[in-house]
Symmetry: C2
C-alpha cells in the first residue's frame, strides 16, 4: 500500500510504540509503504526528533545493510517527578494505613495509567542493562512486572508461594521472611528460566527485603544473573534491609506512636539523574 509522508509518520509512530526494543529494518518500512529507503530515513529523522523532544524515549539507528531503527522507551526526568508527586499525593490520603505497617495500595496498583507509567519509569532506570526476563512474586507485583516487560519486550516469570498443577514441575526454595522471621517457600516452574539469563526483579512493596532476597536465591538455583531489583514502595525500618543495590520509587515511614505516615521519594531520582537524559517534555 503506497502511502504519503503524513500517513507514513502516523504508521511509523504507532508501529514503533508497539514494538519497543526491536530492531526494525529500513527495508521493512520501505516495503510496507512502497517508498524509497531515503524517504523512510527522512521520516525516521522526524519521528526521532519528536520522540526525544517529547521525552518518549530514544530512537537508535543502526547504519548499513543490516541497519534499521530501535525504539527504546524512556521517561524524562520532569515526567518522572510529576508521576512520583501524584503517587505520593494519592498514597498519603487518609485511611490507607493497615495493621502491621502495611499500606493499602490495591486501588492504585489496579489503575493501568499508573501501572504503565511506573513500568516506564522502572524501565528507564535500567535502560542500559541487558535484560532477558522480569521476575516478580504473586500477586500484587504482577501488573508492575508486565508493565516493565512490555516496555522491554521480554517475558515475565511469576514466583508463587506454592506449586500449582497448571505450572508443571517446579523448583522451590525456603527462605526466611525478613519481617516475620518465619520460614516460607517460593516456587518457580522449572521451564521458566534459562541458565545465564539476566533477570530484573520487580515488586510492589518491600519491608525488610526477605522476599527480594528469596527471589535472588531462587534465580541462583537456575543459574540466572540478577541485574537489578526495583520496588514501587519501600518501608523505612530501623533494621538494615536484607538486600542492597535496589531501586525504590517511594519510601514510606510510619511514626509508631501517632500512626502518622510520611511518603518521600525513594532512591530512584538519584539513579535516574545519572542517566543520559537530555530529553525535555511538553505538557
Amino acid at each position: 500500500m503506497k502511502l504519503k509522508r503524513s500517513s507514513r509518520l502516523v504508521d511509523i509512530t504507532s508501529y514503533l510504540l508497539q514494538h519497543p526494543h526491536q530492531l526494525i529494518s529500513l527495508s521493512f518500512f520501505s516495503d510496507r509503504y512502497e517508498s524509497a529507503k531515503s524517504s523512510i530515513s527522512e521520516d525516521l529523522a522526524i519521528v526521532k526528533d519528536n520522540f526525544e523532544s517529547m521525552g518518549l524515549g530514544r530512537l537508535e539507528t543502526l547504519a548499513g545493510a543490516a541497519g534499521g531503527v530501535t525504539y527504546i522507551p524512556c521517561m524524562g526526568g520532569p515526567e518522572a517527578e510529576r508521576l512520583l508527586d501524584r503517587l505520593k499525593e494519592e498514597l498519603t490520603e487518609k485511611d490507607r494505613l493497615l495493621p502491621g505497617g502495611y499500606l493499602f495500595m490495591t486501588d492504585i496498583l489496579g489503575r493501568p495509567e499508573y501501572v504503565n507509567a511506573i513500568g516506564r519509569l522502572i524501565a528507564s532506570v535500567y535502560i542500559d542493562e541487558h535484560i532477558d526476563t522480569i521476575m516478580t512474586m504473586e500477586t500484587k507485583g504482577i501488573p508492575l512486572a508486565f508493565a516493565v516487560a512490555s516496555q522491554r519486550n521480554v517475558p515475565v516469570v511469576v514466583v508463587r508461594r506454592s506449586s500449582k498443577v497448571t505450572e508443571g514441575s517446579t523448583v522451590s526454595i525456603n527462605y526466611i521472611s525478613g519481617s516475620s522471621k518465619r520460614i516460607q517457600t517460593m516456587v518457580l516452574p522449572r521451564r521458566s528460566l534459562k541458565e545465564n539469563s539476566r533477570v530484573l526483579i520487580v515488586d510492589d512493596f518491600m519491608k525488610a527485603g526477605g522476599t527480594m532476597k528469596g527471589m535472588m536465591n531462587l534465580s541462583e538455583e537456575f543459574g540466572a544473573i540478577v541485574v537489578g531489583m526495583a520496588v514501587f514502595v519501600e518501608k523505612e525500618d530501623e533494621q538494615k534491609k536484607l538486600v542492597d543495590h535496589y531501586t525504590s520509587l517511594l519510601k514510606l515511614s510510619i511514626t509508631e506512636q501517632t500512626s502518622a505516615l510520611k511518603i518521600e521519594y525513594g532512591n530512584v531520582m538519584s539513579q535516574f539523574s545519572n542517566r543520559d537524559n537530555r530529553s525535555g517534555t511538553i505538557n
Copy 2:
C-alpha cells in the same frame, strides 16, 4: 511549543495511543502545539484515516464547543485470525498437557506481546459495552485483565482465594468448584467495587465455569452488574458449563484415551464478526 504538521502527527498519534477511551479536546491539542483548531482538525482527519485503514481502531470525533476526539482501540478481523492461529500453533506444541486436563500456558501468558494482543482482541469484542471495571481471579488472569483494562482505561479488581492484610476489609463468598465439586472461598476488598458498576470478567482458563460463576455471585454481593465474561482458553467437557454468554478465544479438547489435544477457535470470531468491522489491515 510551536510544531509543524509532521511533528504534530507524530505527537498526536503517540498521545492518542497512550490515552485510549478519553475524550481529548481540540483545544488541548491546539494549545499544546500553538496551532489553529482548523489545522488540528486536518491533522486528526489524517490520523483517523490511518488508524482505521491499519486496523488500529476508531477515532470518534465529537463536534461543537465541548468537542474533541476519542481513540477507541479495536483489532481488525484479519489481525484477530492471525493472532489466534499463532496462539493455536504455540499451544499445540508437545509437552503442554498436564495432569488433570490442564494445559501449560504459563510461558505464553508471560509474554507481553501475546498478552497485550489478547487484551486488544477482548476489548474489541466488548467495544460497544459501557465498562467501569475489569475483574479477574488471581494469579494467571491478572496480566490479561490489565491488558484489557489498558485498552479500556478502566481499573482492575483482583479476586483472591483468601484475604490478605494488605487488602483491608474484604467481602467473601463460598462457591462450588465446577470440576472438583469442592467448596471454595473467594474474597474481594470491600473498597473495590461501587454499586451499579459495570464489570467485565476476564480469566485465562475455564473448565466447568465454577470460578466464573463465583465471580458473578461476588459481583452481585457488591450490587455490580456483570456485562460480559471473556476467557482465553475454555476446555470442552461433556458437562454443560455453569455460565453462558461468555466469550472464549480458543477451545481445548482432549481425547482421554490417547491424551491427544486439539485446539480450535472458541466462539470469539462469531461474536466478533457481528461488529461493525470495516477496517482492513496492512502487513
